[in-house]
Symmetry: D2
Protein backbone atom coordinates (compact mmCIF):
# COMPACT_ATOMS: atom_id res chain seq x y z
CA UNK A 1 0.00 0.00 0.00
CA UNK A 2 1.29 3.43 -0.84
CA UNK A 3 1.06 6.25 1.69
CA UNK A 4 -0.80 9.37 0.66
CA UNK A 5 1.30 12.18 -0.74
CA UNK A 6 2.50 14.32 2.18
CA UNK A 7 2.90 11.29 4.47
CA UNK A 8 6.26 10.24 3.09
CA UNK A 9 9.54 12.01 2.40
CA UNK A 10 11.89 11.72 -0.53
CA UNK A 11 15.56 11.40 0.39
CA UNK A 12 18.09 12.27 -2.27
CA UNK A 13 21.83 12.45 -2.72
CA UNK A 14 23.33 15.30 -4.74
CA UNK A 15 26.78 15.97 -6.15
CA UNK A 16 27.64 18.85 -8.52
CA UNK A 17 31.23 18.99 -9.80
CA UNK A 18 32.82 21.35 -12.35
CA UNK A 19 35.28 20.09 -14.97
CA UNK A 20 37.96 22.48 -16.16
CA UNK A 21 38.21 24.49 -12.94
CA UNK A 22 41.24 22.81 -11.43
CA UNK A 23 41.47 20.14 -8.74
CA UNK A 24 39.94 22.21 -5.93
CA UNK A 25 36.19 22.45 -6.27
CA UNK A 26 35.00 23.49 -2.80
CA UNK A 27 34.24 27.00 -4.13
CA UNK A 28 31.54 25.43 -6.32
CA UNK A 29 30.21 23.12 -3.64
CA UNK A 30 29.67 26.26 -1.53
CA UNK A 31 27.63 27.83 -4.35
CA UNK A 32 25.45 24.71 -4.37
CA UNK A 33 24.98 24.73 -0.59
CA UNK A 34 24.12 28.43 -0.59
CA UNK A 35 21.40 27.77 -3.14
CA UNK A 36 19.98 24.92 -1.03
CA UNK A 37 19.97 27.25 1.98
CA UNK A 38 18.14 30.03 0.12
CA UNK A 39 15.48 27.51 -0.92
CA UNK A 40 14.93 26.47 2.73
CA UNK A 41 15.36 22.81 1.88
CA UNK A 42 16.62 20.35 4.50
CA UNK A 43 20.10 19.01 3.71
CA UNK A 44 23.20 17.46 5.27
CA UNK A 45 26.64 17.53 3.69
CA UNK A 46 29.16 14.70 3.94
CA UNK A 47 32.60 14.26 2.38
CA UNK A 48 31.26 12.86 -0.89
CA UNK A 49 27.77 14.31 -1.41
CA UNK A 50 24.87 16.26 0.05
CA UNK A 51 21.80 14.43 1.35
CA UNK A 52 18.50 16.26 0.81
CA UNK A 53 15.09 15.58 2.35
CA UNK A 54 11.91 16.86 0.72
CA UNK A 55 8.27 15.82 0.52
CA UNK A 56 8.06 16.30 -3.19
CA UNK A 57 10.00 15.29 -6.29
CA UNK A 58 9.04 18.49 -8.15
CA UNK A 59 10.52 20.60 -5.36
CA UNK A 60 13.64 18.47 -5.40
CA UNK A 61 14.21 18.91 -9.13
CA UNK A 62 13.38 22.61 -8.94
CA UNK A 63 15.98 23.23 -6.24
CA UNK A 64 18.63 21.10 -7.96
CA UNK A 65 18.05 22.93 -11.25
CA UNK A 66 18.67 26.23 -9.43
CA UNK A 67 21.83 24.87 -7.78
CA UNK A 68 23.12 23.51 -11.10
CA UNK A 69 22.41 26.80 -12.86
CA UNK A 70 24.13 28.79 -10.09
CA UNK A 71 27.32 26.87 -10.81
CA UNK A 72 26.91 27.50 -14.57
CA UNK A 73 26.35 31.21 -13.90
CA UNK A 74 29.64 31.37 -11.99
CA UNK A 75 31.32 30.69 -15.35
CA UNK A 76 31.89 26.92 -15.25
CA UNK A 77 31.89 25.45 -18.78
CA UNK A 78 31.25 21.80 -17.96
CA UNK A 79 29.24 20.56 -14.98
CA UNK A 80 28.68 16.97 -13.88
CA UNK A 81 25.57 16.75 -11.67
CA UNK A 82 24.60 13.48 -10.01
CA UNK A 83 21.34 12.75 -8.23
CA UNK A 84 20.20 9.58 -6.49
CA UNK A 85 16.60 9.56 -5.27
CA UNK A 86 15.20 7.16 -2.67
CA UNK A 87 11.41 7.46 -2.93
CA UNK A 88 9.76 5.14 -0.41
CA UNK A 89 5.99 5.12 -0.08
CA UNK A 90 5.16 2.07 2.04
CA UNK A 91 6.17 3.65 5.33
CA UNK A 92 7.19 7.10 6.57
CA UNK A 93 10.94 7.57 6.22
CA UNK A 94 13.31 10.48 6.52
CA UNK A 95 17.05 11.06 6.97
CA UNK A 96 16.86 10.34 10.71
CA UNK A 97 14.68 7.23 10.51
CA UNK A 98 16.92 5.71 7.84
CA UNK A 99 19.98 6.18 10.02
CA UNK A 100 18.12 4.96 13.12
CA UNK A 101 17.11 1.72 11.36
CA UNK A 102 20.80 0.81 11.10
CA UNK A 103 21.27 1.02 14.86
CA UNK A 104 18.46 -1.30 15.88
Amino acid sequence: MQLLHGDYMIIAQLSIVPLGEGTSVSRYVKIVLETLQKEHIKFETNAMATVIETDNISTLFNVIEKAHNSVAQSGVERIITEIKIDDRRDKPANIQSKLASLKK
Copy 2:
Protein backbone atom coordinates in the same frame (compact mmCIF):
# COMPACT_ATOMS: atom_id res chain seq x y z
CA MET B 1 33.20 31.17 -23.10
CA GLN B 2 29.78 29.63 -22.74
CA LEU B 3 27.69 28.91 -25.82
CA LEU B 4 24.27 30.47 -26.02
CA HIS B 5 21.37 28.38 -24.80
CA GLY B 6 20.16 26.27 -27.72
CA ASP B 7 23.67 25.80 -29.12
CA TYR B 8 24.62 23.01 -26.73
CA MET B 9 22.99 19.77 -25.64
CA ILE B 10 22.73 18.20 -22.22
CA ILE B 11 23.57 14.51 -22.10
CA ALA B 12 22.26 12.53 -19.15
CA GLN B 13 22.27 9.00 -17.81
CA LEU B 14 19.13 7.61 -16.18
CA SER B 15 18.41 4.50 -14.14
CA ILE B 16 15.11 3.82 -12.34
CA VAL B 17 14.95 0.62 -10.26
CA PRO B 18 12.17 -0.68 -7.99
CA LEU B 19 12.92 -2.30 -4.62
CA GLY B 20 10.53 -4.96 -3.38
CA GLU B 21 9.42 -6.17 -6.81
CA GLY B 22 11.67 -9.22 -7.11
CA THR B 23 14.94 -9.64 -8.95
CA SER B 24 13.51 -9.11 -12.46
CA VAL B 25 12.89 -5.44 -13.12
CA SER B 26 12.64 -5.24 -16.92
CA ARG B 27 8.88 -4.67 -16.66
CA TYR B 28 9.62 -1.37 -14.91
CA VAL B 29 12.43 -0.37 -17.24
CA LYS B 30 9.89 -0.75 -20.07
CA ILE B 31 7.50 1.64 -18.29
CA VAL B 32 10.32 4.18 -18.12
CA LEU B 33 11.23 3.77 -21.80
CA GLU B 34 7.58 4.09 -22.86
CA THR B 35 7.36 7.39 -20.98
CA LEU B 36 10.52 8.68 -22.68
CA GLN B 37 9.04 7.70 -26.05
CA LYS B 38 5.74 9.48 -25.37
CA GLU B 39 7.69 12.62 -24.50
CA HIS B 40 9.55 12.50 -27.84
CA ILE B 41 12.91 12.77 -26.10
CA LYS B 42 16.05 11.31 -27.71
CA PHE B 43 17.43 8.33 -25.79
CA GLU B 44 19.56 5.19 -26.14
CA THR B 45 19.38 2.22 -23.79
CA ASN B 46 22.38 0.13 -22.77
CA ALA B 47 22.69 -2.78 -20.33
CA MET B 48 23.10 -0.54 -17.26
CA ALA B 49 21.28 2.72 -17.99
CA THR B 50 19.54 4.91 -20.54
CA VAL B 51 21.38 7.85 -22.10
CA ILE B 52 19.21 10.90 -22.83
CA GLU B 53 19.99 13.93 -24.99
CA THR B 54 18.09 17.19 -24.54
CA ASP B 55 18.74 20.90 -25.04
CA ASN B 56 17.34 21.86 -21.69
CA ILE B 57 17.69 20.83 -18.06
CA SER B 58 14.03 21.72 -17.27
CA THR B 59 12.85 19.37 -20.02
CA LEU B 60 15.14 16.68 -18.71
CA PHE B 61 13.82 16.90 -15.14
CA ASN B 62 10.23 17.14 -16.37
CA VAL B 63 10.52 13.93 -18.39
CA ILE B 64 12.37 12.06 -15.63
CA GLU B 65 9.72 13.10 -13.11
CA LYS B 66 7.05 11.64 -15.40
CA ALA B 67 9.02 8.41 -15.83
CA HIS B 68 9.61 8.11 -12.08
CA ASN B 69 5.93 8.73 -11.34
CA SER B 70 4.85 6.16 -13.97
CA VAL B 71 6.78 3.52 -12.05
CA ALA B 72 5.18 4.66 -8.77
CA GLN B 73 1.73 4.53 -10.36
CA SER B 74 2.33 0.92 -11.37
CA GLY B 75 2.28 0.15 -7.63
CA VAL B 76 5.98 0.10 -6.73
CA GLU B 77 6.52 1.11 -3.09
CA ARG B 78 10.19 2.03 -3.21
CA ILE B 79 11.96 3.48 -6.23
CA ILE B 80 15.66 4.29 -6.62
CA THR B 81 16.18 6.81 -9.42
CA GLU B 82 19.67 7.83 -10.49
CA ILE B 83 20.56 10.67 -12.83
CA LYS B 84 23.95 11.84 -14.04
CA ILE B 85 24.00 15.02 -16.10
CA ASP B 86 26.85 16.13 -18.35
CA ASP B 87 26.20 19.80 -19.14
CA ARG B 88 28.92 21.14 -21.41
CA ARG B 89 28.73 24.71 -22.66
CA ASP B 90 32.15 25.46 -24.19
CA LYS B 91 31.52 23.53 -27.39
CA PRO B 92 28.58 21.80 -29.06
CA ALA B 93 28.33 18.19 -27.89
CA ASN B 94 25.80 15.41 -28.23
CA ILE B 95 25.67 11.64 -27.85
CA GLN B 96 27.28 11.09 -31.24
CA SER B 97 30.05 13.67 -30.92
CA LYS B 98 31.02 12.31 -27.50
CA LEU B 99 31.39 8.80 -28.89
CA ALA B 100 33.18 10.09 -32.01
CA SER B 101 35.78 11.91 -29.86
CA LEU B 102 36.89 8.53 -28.50
CA LYS B 103 37.68 7.22 -31.98
CA LYS B 104 39.96 10.04 -33.15
Copy 3:
Protein backbone atom coordinates in the same frame (compact mmCIF):
# COMPACT_ATOMS: atom_id res chain seq x y z
CA MET C 1 52.86 17.34 -8.70
CA GLN C 2 51.63 14.11 -7.22
CA LEU C 3 52.24 13.31 -3.56
CA LEU C 4 54.08 10.12 -2.73
CA HIS C 5 51.95 7.11 -2.00
CA GLY C 6 51.13 7.14 1.72
CA ASP C 7 50.88 10.95 1.83
CA TYR C 8 47.34 11.10 0.46
CA MET C 9 44.08 9.35 1.26
CA ILE C 10 41.44 7.94 -1.02
CA ILE C 11 37.88 8.87 -0.08
CA ALA C 12 35.11 6.68 -1.44
CA GLN C 13 31.35 6.39 -1.31
CA LEU C 14 29.76 2.95 -1.09
CA SER C 15 26.19 1.70 -1.47
CA ILE C 16 25.21 -1.99 -1.60
CA VAL C 17 21.51 -2.72 -2.18
CA PRO C 18 19.73 -6.07 -2.68
CA LEU C 19 16.96 -6.50 -5.27
CA GLY C 20 14.26 -9.03 -4.52
CA GLU C 21 14.42 -8.77 -0.72
CA GLY C 22 11.51 -6.41 -0.16
CA THR C 23 11.48 -2.67 0.42
CA SER C 24 13.35 -2.76 3.76
CA VAL C 25 17.05 -3.28 3.22
CA SER C 26 18.63 -2.14 6.50
CA ARG C 27 19.39 -5.78 7.41
CA TYR C 28 21.77 -5.90 4.44
CA VAL C 29 23.30 -2.49 5.09
CA LYS C 30 24.16 -3.80 8.56
CA ILE C 31 25.95 -6.81 7.02
CA VAL C 32 28.01 -4.36 4.94
CA LEU C 33 28.87 -2.17 7.94
CA GLU C 34 29.86 -5.20 10.03
CA THR C 35 32.27 -6.24 7.30
CA LEU C 36 33.81 -2.76 7.18
CA GLN C 37 34.22 -2.87 10.95
CA LYS C 38 35.93 -6.28 10.90
CA GLU C 39 38.37 -4.93 8.32
CA HIS C 40 39.26 -1.96 10.57
CA ILE C 41 38.63 0.49 7.79
CA LYS C 42 37.57 4.07 8.58
CA PHE C 43 33.99 4.81 7.52
CA GLU C 44 31.01 7.08 8.20
CA THR C 45 27.42 6.23 7.31
CA ASN C 46 24.85 8.74 6.12
CA ALA C 47 21.24 8.30 4.97
CA MET C 48 22.20 7.46 1.38
CA ALA C 49 25.66 5.86 1.46
CA THR C 50 28.75 5.05 3.48
CA VAL C 51 31.87 7.18 3.11
CA ILE C 52 35.17 5.26 3.41
CA GLU C 53 38.69 6.61 3.89
CA THR C 54 41.73 4.52 3.01
CA ASP C 55 45.31 5.12 1.86
CA ASN C 56 45.13 2.55 -0.88
CA ILE C 57 42.86 1.62 -3.76
CA SER C 58 43.73 -2.11 -3.46
CA THR C 59 42.62 -2.11 0.18
CA LEU C 60 39.43 -0.30 -0.79
CA PHE C 61 38.49 -2.84 -3.46
CA ASN C 62 39.47 -5.75 -1.22
CA VAL C 63 37.18 -4.58 1.57
CA ILE C 64 34.29 -3.77 -0.78
CA GLU C 65 34.60 -7.21 -2.40
CA LYS C 66 34.28 -8.78 1.07
CA ALA C 67 31.25 -6.62 1.91
CA HIS C 68 29.59 -7.41 -1.42
CA ASN C 69 30.22 -11.14 -0.97
CA SER C 70 28.87 -11.06 2.60
CA VAL C 71 25.55 -9.83 1.23
CA ALA C 72 25.59 -12.55 -1.46
CA GLN C 73 26.34 -15.19 1.19
CA SER C 74 23.26 -14.08 3.15
CA GLY C 75 21.21 -15.44 0.24
CA VAL C 76 20.55 -12.32 -1.84
CA GLU C 77 20.13 -13.19 -5.52
CA ARG C 78 20.72 -9.78 -7.07
CA ILE C 79 23.00 -7.10 -5.63
CA ILE C 80 23.56 -3.57 -6.91
CA THR C 81 26.86 -2.20 -5.58
CA GLU C 82 27.88 1.37 -6.27
CA ILE C 83 31.29 2.91 -5.61
CA LYS C 84 32.51 6.44 -6.20
CA ILE C 85 36.20 7.07 -5.59
CA ASP C 86 37.78 10.49 -5.06
CA ASP C 87 41.54 9.98 -5.48
CA ARG C 88 43.35 13.27 -5.00
CA ARG C 89 47.14 13.37 -5.13
CA ASP C 90 48.08 17.04 -5.31
CA LYS C 91 47.47 17.72 -1.63
CA PRO C 92 46.70 15.70 1.48
CA ALA C 93 42.96 15.21 1.86
CA ASN C 94 40.72 13.11 4.07
CA ILE C 95 37.08 13.05 5.16
CA GLN C 96 37.64 15.82 7.71
CA SER C 97 39.67 18.15 5.51
CA LYS C 98 37.11 17.87 2.70
CA LEU C 99 34.32 18.90 5.06
CA ALA C 100 36.46 21.64 6.63
CA SER C 101 37.14 23.19 3.20
CA LEU C 102 33.43 23.90 2.86
CA LYS C 103 33.36 25.94 6.07
CA LYS C 104 36.18 28.34 5.23
Copy 4:
Protein backbone atom coordinates in the same frame (compact mmCIF):
# COMPACT_ATOMS: atom_id res chain seq x y z
CA MET D 1 18.54 -20.28 -5.52
CA GLN D 2 21.95 -18.96 -6.46
CA LEU D 3 23.68 -20.25 -9.60
CA LEU D 4 27.13 -21.74 -9.18
CA HIS D 5 30.05 -19.45 -9.73
CA GLY D 6 30.88 -19.51 -13.45
CA ASP D 7 27.23 -19.82 -14.47
CA TYR D 8 26.44 -16.13 -14.08
CA MET D 9 28.06 -12.92 -15.28
CA ILE D 10 28.64 -9.66 -13.49
CA ILE D 11 27.70 -6.58 -15.48
CA ALA D 12 29.24 -3.29 -14.41
CA GLN D 13 29.24 0.34 -15.41
CA LEU D 14 32.50 2.32 -15.24
CA SER D 15 33.32 6.00 -15.49
CA ILE D 16 36.75 7.51 -14.79
CA VAL D 17 37.02 11.31 -15.03
CA PRO D 18 39.98 13.60 -14.25
CA LEU D 19 39.51 16.90 -12.41
CA GLY D 20 41.92 19.72 -13.21
CA GLU D 21 42.64 18.67 -16.80
CA GLY D 22 40.27 21.01 -18.59
CA THR D 23 36.81 20.39 -19.99
CA SER D 24 37.88 17.85 -22.64
CA VAL D 25 38.56 14.48 -21.08
CA SER D 26 38.41 12.06 -24.03
CA ARG D 27 42.21 11.65 -23.88
CA TYR D 28 41.76 10.02 -20.46
CA VAL D 29 38.77 7.92 -21.47
CA LYS D 30 40.98 6.50 -24.23
CA ILE D 31 43.64 5.54 -21.64
CA VAL D 32 40.91 3.68 -19.72
CA LEU D 33 39.64 1.87 -22.82
CA GLU D 34 43.17 0.87 -23.86
CA THR D 35 43.68 -0.70 -20.44
CA LEU D 36 40.42 -2.64 -20.72
CA GLN D 37 41.52 -3.86 -24.16
CA LYS D 38 44.92 -5.03 -22.92
CA GLU D 39 43.18 -6.98 -20.16
CA HIS D 40 40.97 -8.78 -22.72
CA ILE D 41 37.82 -7.88 -20.82
CA LYS D 42 34.49 -7.53 -22.65
CA PHE D 43 33.21 -3.94 -22.71
CA GLU D 44 30.95 -1.53 -24.60
CA THR D 45 31.27 2.23 -24.48
CA ASN D 46 28.33 4.63 -24.57
CA ALA D 47 28.16 8.43 -24.28
CA MET D 48 28.15 8.42 -20.48
CA ALA D 49 29.98 5.29 -19.32
CA THR D 50 31.54 1.97 -20.26
CA VAL D 51 29.65 -1.27 -19.61
CA ILE D 52 31.84 -4.23 -18.64
CA GLU D 53 30.94 -7.92 -18.51
CA THR D 54 32.99 -10.36 -16.43
CA ASP D 55 32.42 -13.62 -14.59
CA ASN D 56 34.19 -12.48 -11.48
CA ILE D 57 34.19 -9.51 -9.13
CA SER D 58 37.92 -9.91 -8.35
CA THR D 59 38.75 -9.66 -12.06
CA LEU D 60 36.51 -6.62 -12.36
CA PHE D 61 38.20 -4.76 -9.50
CA ASN D 62 41.65 -5.79 -10.71
CA VAL D 63 41.03 -4.37 -14.19
CA ILE D 64 39.43 -1.19 -12.88
CA GLU D 65 42.35 -0.63 -10.52
CA LYS D 66 44.73 -0.88 -13.49
CA ALA D 67 42.59 1.53 -15.54
CA HIS D 68 42.39 4.01 -12.64
CA ASN D 69 46.16 3.82 -12.08
CA SER D 70 46.85 4.32 -15.80
CA VAL D 71 45.05 7.64 -15.61
CA ALA D 72 47.01 8.58 -12.46
CA GLN D 73 50.28 7.64 -14.17
CA SER D 74 49.45 10.00 -17.04
CA GLY D 75 49.87 12.82 -14.51
CA VAL D 76 46.28 13.50 -13.42
CA GLU D 77 46.17 14.86 -9.86
CA ARG D 78 42.53 14.14 -9.03
CA ILE D 79 40.50 11.26 -10.41
CA ILE D 80 36.81 10.51 -9.87
CA THR D 81 36.10 6.84 -10.58
CA GLU D 82 32.55 5.51 -10.48
CA ILE D 83 31.52 1.87 -10.59
CA LYS D 84 28.06 0.33 -10.53
CA ILE D 85 27.91 -3.47 -10.31
CA ASP D 86 24.87 -5.57 -11.18
CA ASP D 87 25.57 -9.03 -9.73
CA ARG D 88 22.66 -11.35 -10.47
CA ARG D 89 22.85 -14.96 -9.39
CA ASP D 90 19.33 -16.36 -9.83
CA LYS D 91 19.53 -16.70 -13.61
CA PRO D 92 22.22 -16.38 -16.27
CA ALA D 93 22.47 -12.78 -17.48
CA ASN D 94 24.87 -10.83 -19.63
CA ILE D 95 24.92 -7.55 -21.56
CA GLN D 96 22.94 -9.05 -24.45
CA SER D 97 20.29 -10.85 -22.39
CA LYS D 98 19.64 -7.70 -20.33
CA LEU D 99 19.02 -5.67 -23.47
CA ALA D 100 16.95 -8.47 -25.03
CA SER D 101 14.65 -8.60 -21.98
CA LEU D 102 13.58 -5.02 -22.75
CA LYS D 103 12.41 -5.95 -26.24
CA LYS D 104 10.11 -8.82 -25.30
